[in-house]
C-alpha cells in the first residue's frame, strides 16, 4: 500500500496578529496509506475540524505542508483545485447544504463542477446513489421532502459522486437514530471497498471507531498526541479518560473485570469480547 496523504509539521493560527489569535494546530505530522480507514478522536476544540479543512485545501497552513500523492497541494492554483476533488470532505450535519430542486441535481453538483461529460456525471450520480442506498424513485424528488437520515445520505452521495481518493467525514452519524447510523457507516465502508479509497472519520462514538477503523489519531490541545491501531490506543485507556475522551463500552467492562482480579486481556470490540469470553469458558 502506498502513501496517499502526508501532513508535515502543520501549524495553523487563527486571526494571526489580532487579540483573538489562537493556535488551532501545532506541528501536526502524520501520513495515511491508500485504502486505510483512519479514525480521528479528540474533544471539542482540539483542532480536528481545522485539521480536516486543511486536507483538501480549504484552509492554508500558517506553516508546514500537505502532500497529496507526493505533491504539495498549495503548489499552484490548479493543484489546489484538484485537491478539492481528490479529497472529498463531508462536513458535520451536511444535510444543511442541500440546495437543488431534486436529489439527482444535488448529487450532480460536485461532478458538474469537475467539468465532466454528461454521461459520466449520470453514471457517477447513479453509482453514488446506489452506494448510499437511495432508490431510483428518490432521485427525482426534492431533497427537502426526505427524512433527516435520507437527507444525510444524499449529502454524502454528493461528495462520493466526485469519487475522491480520500473521503473525510466529520461526525457523519451525529444526531441520527441507531438504524440510520448503522446504515451510513455501512455506506462508508461500501464506498471504501468499491473504490479502494482512504477514509478518515471524525467521531465521538468510541464503539464505532473501535469497530471500523484500522488506525486512530488522537488530537488534544491542538496537537496530535497519539497515533496507532485501536488496540494500542485503547490500551492507554486512562490517558484517554484524562483527556476527557471516552473508551468503548466493552473496554470499560473488561477493565473493570481486570480490576476485580479476573484474568482477561483488554478488548475493544464486541467480537473480541465474545471470543475472549468463549475462550475462558471453553478453557475451564
Amino acid at each position: 500500500m502506498s502513501t496517499i496523504l502526508e501532513v508535515k509539521d502543520l501549524t495553523y493560527i487563527y486571526s494571526a496578529g489580532t487579540p483573538f489569535e489562537h493556535k488551532a494546530l501545532d506541528e501536526v505530522s502524520f501520513s495515511v496509506k491508500q485504502g486505510e480507514f483512519v479514525g480521528i478522536i479528540g474533544h471539542t476544540g482540539s483542532g480536528k475540524s481545522t485539521l480536516m479543512q486543511h486536507l483538501n485545501g480549504l484552509l492554508k497552513p500558517t506553516s508546514g505542508q500537505i502532500l497529496l500523492g507526493g505533491e504539495d497541494i498549495w503548489k499552484d492554483k490548479t493543484t489546489t483545485r484538484q485537491a478539492r476533488f481528490r479529497v472529498g470532505l463531508v462536513f458535520q450535519y451536511p444535510e444543511y447544504q442541500l440546495f437543488e430542486e431534486t436529489v439527482y441535481k444535488d448529487i450532480a453538483f460536485g461532478p458538474k463542477n469537475m467539468g465532466l461529460k454528461a454521461d459520466e456525471i449520470d453514471r457517477r450520480v447513479r453509482r453514488a446513489a446506489e452506494l448510499v442506498g437511495l432508490t431510483e424513485a428518490q432521485l427525482s424528488v426534492s431533497p427537502f421532502d426526505l427524512s433527516g437520515g435520507q437527507k444525510r445520505r444524499v449529502a454524502i452521495a454528493g461528495v462520493i459522486a466526485m469519487e475522491p481518493e480520500v473521503l473525510i467525514l466529520d461526525e457523519p452519524t451525529a444526531g441520527l437514530d441507531p438504524e440510520s447510523r448503522a446504515g451510513i457507516l455501512d455506506n462508508i465502508e461500501a464506498y471504501r471497498k468499491a473504490q479502494n479509497a482512504t477514509i478518515m472519520m471524525v467521531s465521538h462514538s468510541m464503539n464505532d471507531v473501535a469497530r471500523l477503523t484500522e488506525r486512530l489519531l488522537v488530537m488534544n490541545g491542538s496537537r496530535l498526541v497519539m497515533d496507532g491501531p485501536p488496540a494500542e490506543i485503547f490500551a492507554r485507556a486512562q490517558e484517554l479518560l484524562d483527556m476527557g475522551l471516552d473508551i468503548p463500552d466493552v473496554t470499560r467492562v473488561f477493565l473493570r473485570l481486570q480490576q476485580m482480579g479476573i484474568d482477561v486481556e483488554p478488548v475493544y470490540t464486541m467480537e473480541q469480547a465474545v471470543a475472549a469470553i468463549r475462550q475462558r469458558k471453553e478453557g475451564k
Binding site: 478539492r84 472529498g88 447544504q97 442541500l98 453538483f109 460536485g110 463542477n113 469537475m114 454528493g158 466526485m162
Partner: protein, 268 residues
C-alpha cells in the same frame, strides 16, 4: 474575511462609557452627529475630533478594532473624496487635468468631507462597541416609548431589532460553513463573469434562507413556550436609571454643541 465584519460587535468592559445609561449614549450620538454636521471650519472639527478622541480613550477600546471597523466603508470614503475634489467650484486653481480644475477650496472641502464620514462612522461604532445589543434596544425602546400613544408598536420594534442583532454573528458563521461545504464540492466563487458569480451564490443562499427560517420558527416556538406575548404589562430585569455619570455626560455634550455653534460666529 466574513468574520472581520464588526457590525454590531460589542466589547465588554467597565469604562466610564460602558457604564453610561444606553439612552444617554444614544442621545450623545445624536448630539455628536448634530455637532459634526454643524461644524464648519477647523475649530469645529478640531473640537468634535477632540471629543471623539477622548471618548475612544476613555472607552478602552483597542485602537486597532476601531480602524478595522472603518475598512469596509473605505470605498465610499475615497469615492466621496474624489467627487468633492473635482466638483467643488473655487478660484485658487492648483492644476488642471483634462478640463477638471483642482482648487484649494476643493482640497479643503474633500478633506473635511472625508473627515466627517470617518468621524461619523467611528462615533456610531463606539456606541455599538460599548453597549450590548440588549441594552441598546432597551434604551431605544425607552426613548421611543412616547410613540406608544399613537399606537406605534415600540416594544415589538425593539424586540425585532434585538433579535436581528443577536442573529448577525450566527448567520455569518452559518454562511462561512455553507461556503466551505460548497467549496469542498468544487464551487467557485472567485472567477467567472458577473452573471456566473451571481449564479454561484444560489448554492449558498438557498441553504442559508432555509436555515434562517428554521431558526426563526424554532425561536418563535421557544418564545411562545415561555409565554411571550409582546410588551403589554411586561417588566424588565434591568431597569434603566440615570445617574450622576449621565448628567455629567449631558453637560459635556451640551458644551460641545454650544461651542461648535458659537465658535464660527465669534470668528474662530
Amino acid at each position: 474575511m466574513l468574520k472581520d465584519i464588526t457590525l454590531g460587535q460589542f466589547f465588554p468592559g467597565d469604562s466610564y462609557i460602558h457604564k453610561l445609561d444606553p439612552r444617554t449614549k444614544l442621545l450623545m450620538v445624536v448630539i455628536y452627529i448634530v455637532a459634526l454636521f454643524s461644524a464648519s471650519g477647523w475649530s469645529g472639527y478640531a473640537l468634535t475630533g477632540l471629543f471623539l478622541a477622548m471618548a475612544i480613550l476613555i472607552s478602552n477600546i483597542p485602537f486597532k478594532s476601531i480602524t478595522r471597523g472603518l475598512k469596509p466603508v473605505m470605498v465610499i470614503v475615497v469615492f466621496t473624496g474624489v467627487l468633492n475634489l473635482f466638483f467643488t467650484p473655487g478660484t485658487h486653481e492648483i492644476v488642471n487635468i483634462f478640463g477638471f480644475s483642482l482648487t484649494w477650496e476643493a482640497v479643503e472641502r474633500a478633506f473635511f468631507m472625508i473627515l466627517r464620514i470617518m468621524m461619523l462612522i467611528t462615533g456610531t461604532f463606539l456606541l455599538t462597541y460599548t453597549t450590548s445589543p440588549i441594552a441598546l434596544t432597551d434604551g431605544l425602546e425607552s426613548l421611543l416609548s412616547p410613540l406608544k400613544r399613537i399606537k406605534f408598536p415600540v416594544h415589538e420594534l425593539s424586540m425585532m431589532m434585538c433579535i436581528a442583532l443577536r442573529f448577525i454573528p450566527t448567520l455569518i458563521e452559518e454562511t462561512d460553513k455553507i461556503m466551505s461545504a460548497q467549496k469542498a464540492r468544487g464551487a467557485d466563487f472567485e472567477s467567472g463573469s458577473l452573471m456566473e458569480r451571481a449564479r454561484a451564490l444560489v448554492p449558498i443562499l438557498v441553504p442559508l434562507f432555509i436555515s434562517a427560517f428554521r431558526r426563526a420558527d424554532e425561536l418563535a416556538t421557544a418564545m411562545e413556550c415561555r409565554c411571550y406575548q409582546g410588551g403589554e404589562g411586561r417588566t424588565k430585569m434591568k431597569q434603566l436609571h440615570y445617574t450622576q455619570l449621565d448628567f455629567n455626560a449631558f453637560g459635556i455634550g451640551a458644551a460641545l454643541l454650544a461651542a461648535v455653534l458659537i465658535l464660527p460666529r465669534i470668528g474662530l
